[in-house]
């Protein structure tokens, strides 16, 4: 995979899309504040966005929904481990083991 110079434009704009929300109220001080209703609604943005990125990736193989793909089984294992234990490494170890194990048992 190759990228052209526009990749750096993406980085700079993403950097702004990170630093501006972070600095917003710290820099503005108490001169301005968010309406409480909007604050409450925005709390759901990260969960909705993460799920919107992860779920299509794990249920599908190249655009088609396939419930029997090894990524879905590996993701389920990672979800169970992450929900049950607090060790930050464990979901990675178990998830990768399930994915690579299934790929070795059912090649192609």
């Amino acid at each position: 995979m190759n990228y052209d110079a526009s990749l750096w434009l993406i980085f700079i704009l993403l950097g702004l899309a990170t630093t501006l929300p972070r600095a917003s109220f710290i820099v503005l001080g108490n001169r301005f504040s968010l309406p409480p209703t909007l604050q409450r609604a925005l709390r759901y943005a990260p969960a909705a966005a993460l799920a919107a990125i992860v779920v299509p990736d794990i249920v599908g193989v190249s655009g088609h929904v396939d419930p029997l793909n090894p990524k879905l089984a590996a993701a389920m294992a990672a979800i169970l481990v992450a929900a049950r234990w607090r060790n930050p490494w464990l979901p990675f170890i178990v998830g990768m083991a399930v994915l690579l194990g299934l790929k070795a048992v059912f090649p192609g």
Binding site: L7, F11, L13, A41, R43, Y44, A51, I58, P88
Partner: protein
Amino acid sequence: MQSMDFERRGFAAGVREGFIAFLPVSVGLIPWALVVGMAMTSAGFTPLQAMGMNIIVFAGTAQLGTLPLIADHAPLWLILATGLALNLRFLIFSAGIAPGFRGIGTGWRWLCGHFLTDGSFAVCYDKLMQVDDPRWRLGYYVITGAWSWLLWQTFALIGIFAAGIVPKSWSLEFMATIALIVLLVPMAKSRPMLVAAIVGGGGAVLLRGMPLRLGVVTAICLGIAAGFAAEHWQEKKTA
């Protein structure tokens, strides 16, 4: 109380106490930085591009979340909209912690804003509200940001080079998916958050046929609305 106030004076004392409080929390950054480093290499970035993203963006969730879109050559606005959605929580953190920067100049405030991460927010919030001395508060906060920054860059760099020597058949790019899952699972512990995640995730699958990948943004908006509605419904039920 008098002696405590005496000790809580000055930038250096703040740095010392902030570092001690933050050190155990900061260990959690190491696997993230390694995984993000590996994910950037798996997405096809050169080490220079990967470190460029790591330094300019400095936000694990936004980096991991936008990587699949960047690798897919998705339109720029979609990459930005997704990055913004993943960063919206910082708007809330920023609004919450802003009173802690009373008496601190604008230049420092920009740096502190750039350094605002989930870990710094969690460790500093109470102290910044309670302690009076602005120099102590600045020291306490800035060391958490500077230390996060250093760990983040160092371990991402290690991840970048580690991924380069691992064979393709090991499917290391799946580590990025697991990392997003690990972020998502603790969020989805409350009922309305779970609703937001299910609607966001399910919506993105059902709407994946929409042109320009509009389905992702639509699904995120639906997820936010569903979570908010579920919160209202839950409150009505318990009230």
